[in-house]
Amino acid sequence: MNKVLSRRSFLRNSSEVFHKSCIVLTTPMILSACKEASKDYSDSPNFKILSVNEGKEYAAIASRIIPSDESPGANEAGVVFFMDNVLSDGRELEHNILKEGLKNLQAMGVENFGASGFYSLNTDQQDQLLEEIEGAEFFETMRYLTIAGMLSLPEYQGNRDNIGFKMLGYENRHAWASPYGYYDTGYPLLGDK
């Protein structure tokens, strides 16, 4: 491993960043009953540590970070189960910070849209709230866990059917052979003449 290990610490120690960056929306919004998160893995989950409600909320957030559009996203990859798995692995402190962050996000939902469940908002409303908290600890942690859940080995409970790897154009092969890419095709050992 060269240089810095992972440039991102799992979580910062303080949730202050969240509070600082959390700009409360003032424009009144009309609550939409539209519920996109129909294919919800958290309806009858068997979580290790997450509550059913947390599961629904984190799954809904992950679904906006990696949406299901013309290709599958975080929902189909089962990212929330990855989150449950790693948060249950000696990360109580981090889990508590996330719970606090979720409370704040839900409060923003009440204030702006009159609904406390993030999952019950429509996707425009969800995105609006997430844009407000981008860069804050809670959002960055959710983004981190969502991406990690997309691209870890399926044995960690996310990346079902290698959905994340397919998104990236990556194939988890045991071996590759030259040529690897466009530019090395036919390239001689000592370079071009």
Binding site: M1, N2, K3, V4, L5, S6, R7, R8, S9, F10, R64, I65, I66, P67, D69, S71, G73, V86, D89, G90, R91, D127, L130, E134, R143, Y144, I147, A148, M150, L151, S152, L153, Y156, G164, F165, M167, L168, G169, Y170, N172, R173, H174, A175, W176, A177, S178, P179, Y180, G181, Y182, Y183, D184, Y187, L189, G191, D192
Partner: protein
């Protein structure tokens, strides 16, 4: 699992070696095959090729190899002694397993060059630093570099670009990757001399080990086929089959005790269950790495050595060097696919010593890589370098291009030794064994930052010449963590300002040796492991000769 012969703790063995990494593995093999009884104490498990997986979450994020705070091994960091050190997950990054960091390193394997050993006298002293010549020259070390090439296994192409070498590489160079081709073509266009990167990864079968299968998981991972030339793959099996070496895993050393004549007498350690043992030895060789070796010396204080064992010079833990680093990344029209095969295949060393007219000291090399080590997760986490959203549907499309169509040209460069950059024992924080946690105090010298920026400028010019569509510079910042842990028990002829002599023997304790990154007097140009292994062969050679003369 085969861990060799068994020795009783009460029986004095010839040598206890603390640590089984790049240096410890080499010395264990050399001493045991020469007929000496050897006990190797390693604090991690004995993982082998069949244990390793393409597990980015486990190795890169969960600390499976590189322990940190979550595993009960917190560390602290500060930029100067005037600051309060704050707790970090990991600051000194090293693998805790048989083979140490030689298991999970990139395999980039540059020899040092003659100038690395006598640069201080060529350039003159640099004010405010402890910049010094080595007590040995490149010529002294060359036979041992060649030993590493052949016994450990190195792939490369002999040419005018090499420092003087007495024998060709044992294995042909690895096939060029697209990022290497982009660097080589651009380098030639700008008048430089790019060449195939020497790597400690076998391109073809050698010494009974297979060639690389180009899976792409080198940097931060253990090789799944034993093609990477770690000491675990190349040296430890030979040590164990000698019939003279016992490997004790999950053994964490707490201190080295002296006898009445002030010679190292026994090594005290905890086993996996936390039970304390001690092993008697005729001599002790500490190869625990540039952070753990000084820590062990400091923990082994006594009335004879109140400031730490073998520390009459006061230099134990000082002069920490990380190596400088910079990166510029480009996005290209066609697939680069840096996630396949080894980290780097081409290097440019035309700026090994930056001309003094630039007004700062430094030098290094540039190699070609994937911007996120070719790793799927890290690539997606890092995505957005070239603009665009960091989440949502548009991000999903961009992340694919950034994973497959990018190359990074990295600068690897010098760090000046400073007495103020240190490894010390934290005042309050303890690890899971109750030992004082490692405290890092580090601030790059301004010349190191200037050098890193110089290399980033060259990388940007090379990316432009290579035809990159968009280019990003990763900001050059003062470093707060690293895996290169160098200089903290430096080698020298003068016992007043060095910890070990030219043969890696303690100036203070005649049957105590230290050999690892801590021995280095200067930082080299960013790839220290080859030199650490060569020093280990040289140290072992000296120990064997001195033993025969009854000088140990």
């Amino acid at each position: 699992m085969d861990t060799g012969v068994k020795y009783s703790n009460d029986t004095q063995v010839d040598f206890v070696i603390v640590g089984s990494g790049a240096a410890g593995g080499v010395i264990a093999k050399e001493l045991s095959t020469a007929g000496f009884s050897v006990v190797v104490l390693e604090q991690g498990p004995y993982l082998k090729a069949s244990d390793f997986k393409h597990d980015e979450w486990g190795y890169k994020h969960n600390g499976d190899l590189v322990w940190g705070k979550r595993k009960g091994h917190p560390q602290t960091f500060r930029k100067s002694i005037n600051e309060k050190a704050t707790e970090r997950e990991v600051c000194f990054g090293y693998a805790h397993n048989v083979g140490g960091s030689s298991v999970h390193f990139s395999g980039n394997f540059w020899r040092f060059r003659p100038i690395d050993f006598n640069e201080a006298s060529v350039l003159g002293p640099i004010s405010g630093t402890t910049f010094a010549d080595w007590p040995i020259t490149y010529e002294d070390l060359e036979p041992y570099y060649t030993k590493v090439d052949w016994e450990v296994g190195v792939s490369g192409l002999q040419g005018s670009w090499d420092p003087p070498r007495s024998r060709d590489y044992p294995c042909k160079p690895m096939p060029a990757k697209s990022a290497g081709v982009l660097l080589e073509r651009a380098g030639k266009a700008l008048g430089y001399n790019p060449y195939p990167a020497p790597v400690a990864i076998l391109s073809e079968p050698h010494n009974g080990r297979p060639g690389c299968i180009h899976c792409g998981f080198c940097n931060g991972f253990g090789c799944e086929v034993d093609a990477k030339s770690s000491s675990m793959s190349s040296m430890i099996p030979l040590a164990l089959s000698s019939g003279n070496c016992e490997l004790r895993t999950f053994c964490t050393v707490s201190r080295i005790n002296l006898d009445k004549a002030d010679n190292a007498d026994e090594v005290v350690y905890w086993d996996r269950a936390g039970v304390e043992h001690s092993q008697k030895a005729r001599a002790v060789v500490v190869c625990a790495n540039g952070a753990e070796t000084p820590r062990l010396m400091l923990l082994s204080e006594s009335s004879r050595f109140p400031d730490g064992l073998a520390n009459s010079s006061g230099m134990v833990g000082k002069n920490l060097m990380f190596n400088g680093w910079s990166s510029a990344e480009g996005i290209f029209d066609h697939p680069v696919n840096g996630f396949k095969s080894i980290p780097t295949t081409r290097v440019i060393h035309d700026f090994y010593s930056i001309d003094s007219s630039f007004g700062f000291y430094g030098g290094g090399g540039i190699d070609s890589r994937h911007p996120s080590d070719g790793l799927p997760m890290r690539s997606a986490l890092d995505s957005g370098r070239f603009g665009g959203p960091r989440w949502g549907s548009e991000y999903k499309r961009l992340v694919r291009e950034e994973f497959t169509h990018t190359a990074a040209f990295h600068g690897h460069s010098t760090s000046l030794p400073l007495a103020s950059n240190t490894v010390t024992l934290d005042d309050t924080l303890k690890d899971r064994w109750g030992r004082s946690a490692l405290c890092c105090t580090y601030k790059d010298h301004p010349d190191d930052i200037a050098t890193a920026k110089f290399f980033q400028d060259r990388s940007v010019e090379l990316l432009e010449a290579a035809g990159a569509k968009k280019i990003n510079r990763t900001p050059v910042v003062e470093q707060e963590s690293n895996v290169h842990l160098l200089g903290t028990c430096r080698m020298g002829d003068d016992p007043e300002n060095s910890v070990v002599d030219r043969y890696n023997r303690s100036h203070d304790v005649s049957n105590l040796f230290m050999c690892d990154g801590s021995s280095l007097v200067t930082s080299g140009r960013g790839q220290p492991t080859m030199t650490i292994m060569a020093l280990a062969f040289r140290t072992a050679d000296h120990i064997i000769q001195a033993s025969k003369r009854n000088e140990i």
